[in-house]
């Protein structure tokens, strides 16, 4: 799964949906892989408009990416090709292959195997 995916996911447990702690889910023991994709600055600009930047900052710091600015780039900053290439690499080229996603509210762990996160719940949580 691309790192960007986690910006759209939340805990599958119903009672966590309204909790701010259930987003973003936290990567644990993540094993990463790189996939080369063509750089498309227009795509990054459109995608940034819908990205939850604070959640993205949490995710990237957990995965060890340190070059992400504190504020979402706007205006002139969007012409900074180095920055857009960094974002392209983290958001689109970086895949999480193995590990877990953990809810900050209920602490439930969702296993990631071969790039696919398992959000099926155990019977007692359905």
């Amino acid at each position: 799964m691309k790192v960007l995916t986690v910006n759209f996911l939340t805990c599958a447990v119903k009672t966590c949906k309204t909790s701010p702690e259930a987003f973003p889910l936290h990567f644990r023991d993540a094993e990463l892989a790189q996939q080369d994709l063509e750089f498309n600055p227009e795509f990054i600009k459109n995608m940034l408009l819908r990205l939850d930047w604070n959640a993205f900052r949490v995710t990237t710091s957990e995965l060890g990416f340190s070059t992400i600015p504190a504020e979402k780039p706007e205006g002139d900053a969007l012409n900074d090709e180095t920055l857009l290439r960094d974002l392209h690499k983290v958001l689109l080229e970086t895949q999480v292959m193995e590990g877990k996603l953990v809810c900050g509210h209920c602490a439930h762990e969702y296993a990631i195997k071969e790039g696919i996160a398992n959000f099926l719940l155990p019977n007692h949580l359905v």
């Binding site: 995916t5 063509e38 819908r50 719940l121």
Partner: protein, 276 residues
């Protein structure tokens, strides 16, 4: 006509094989009337200022082989008029998630190869959207409310006496195929169960669809959101549309494609659900 994504790598022992319903969705989503609607709703840039617009997130629920999402992903340029589009698939069947991942990646590569006329090893998304991931989950349970711009659902719509119980975290042993200790009988049982999840719809064939419909007002983006839902005649599509319109708040439901070729109980249609 846009090429249909290849699913030759998929084992249809435990993943739904693309059929008339899948192809009706492909036809509907690539028809000029629907691409015009989508290009108006999800432009690459605002008409007035030319500024970038938020990249739409397309989610196919119960993706199965992934043929529909692969089609939308690979042909984003034709369908949306641009490729600033994100796609994601969900399914309760792990085999389907694995199959869909490969179907989408293969479709992206095939379109890329035919664009350049020379095979490439990198999946450069020249005509294609960005595929995020398959997610093993029930309907939209793992997706953050308000994030989905376009939802596609080809549900288990066949009326059946019982609805199969949904799999839980570890209830399906997907390794059994290569496990010497597991009998062919238990593999057959497992695969029959997984296939039943793809078609068995319970009362009126609507039990799973009704659960999805309940989620639509909160799961779709409040302004941009649109859903495409496949229904068969036994689902009482006119009643379904009337119920959606009764949600209020400007919700609309219209039939945008029908399959008239086969008369009888499995006559199919695609309903678009949105707030104009």
């Amino acid at each position: 006509m846009l090429p249909t994504p290849s699913t030759s790598h998929v084992s249809f022992d435990n993943v739904y094989e693309p059929a008339e319903d899948s192809f009706l969705l492909l036809d509907a989503l690539s028809a000029p009337s629907e691409t015009a609607f989508l290009q108006h709703r999800f432009p690459a840039a605002t008409a007035s200022s030319g500024a970038a617009t938020p990249a739409p997130l397309v989610v196919e629920v119960g993706t199965g082989s992934g043929v529909v999402l692969a089609f939308v992903t690979a042909h984003a340029k034709t369908i949306f008029g641009h490729t600033n589009v994100l796609t994601l698939a969900t399914d309760v069947n792990r085999f389907a998630c694995e199959a869909a991942q490969r179907t989408v990646q293969t479709a992206i590569k095939d379109v890329c190869d035919s664009d350049t006329q020379t095979p490439t090893t990198s999946a450069a998304p020249a005509s294609s959207a960005a595929f995020l991931s398959p997610v093993l989950s029930d309907l939209t349970s793992a997706i953050r409310p308000g994030e989905i711009d376009m939802l596609i659902f080809n549900p288990p719509y066949v009326p059946t006496e019982e609805l199969p119980i949904l799999p839980s975290t570890h209830s399906i042993d997907t390794s059994a195929g290569s496990n010497q200790g597991v009998s062919s009988h238990s593999i057959f049982e497992r695969d029959s169960y997984l296939l039943s999840l793809s078609y068995a719809g319970g009362a009126d064939g609507m039990e799973t669809t009704d659960r999805l419909l309940e989620q639509i007002p909160t799961i779709l983006h409040p302004e941009r959101g649109v859903a495409y839902l496949l229904l068969c005649a036994q689902n009482r599509p006119e009643d379904v549309k009337a119920r959606i319109r009764a949600w209020g708040n400007g919700w609309a439901a219209e039939t945008v494609a029908t399959s008239g070729k086969t008369a009888g109980w499995e006559r199919l249609q695609i309903v678009r659900i949105w707030r104009p």
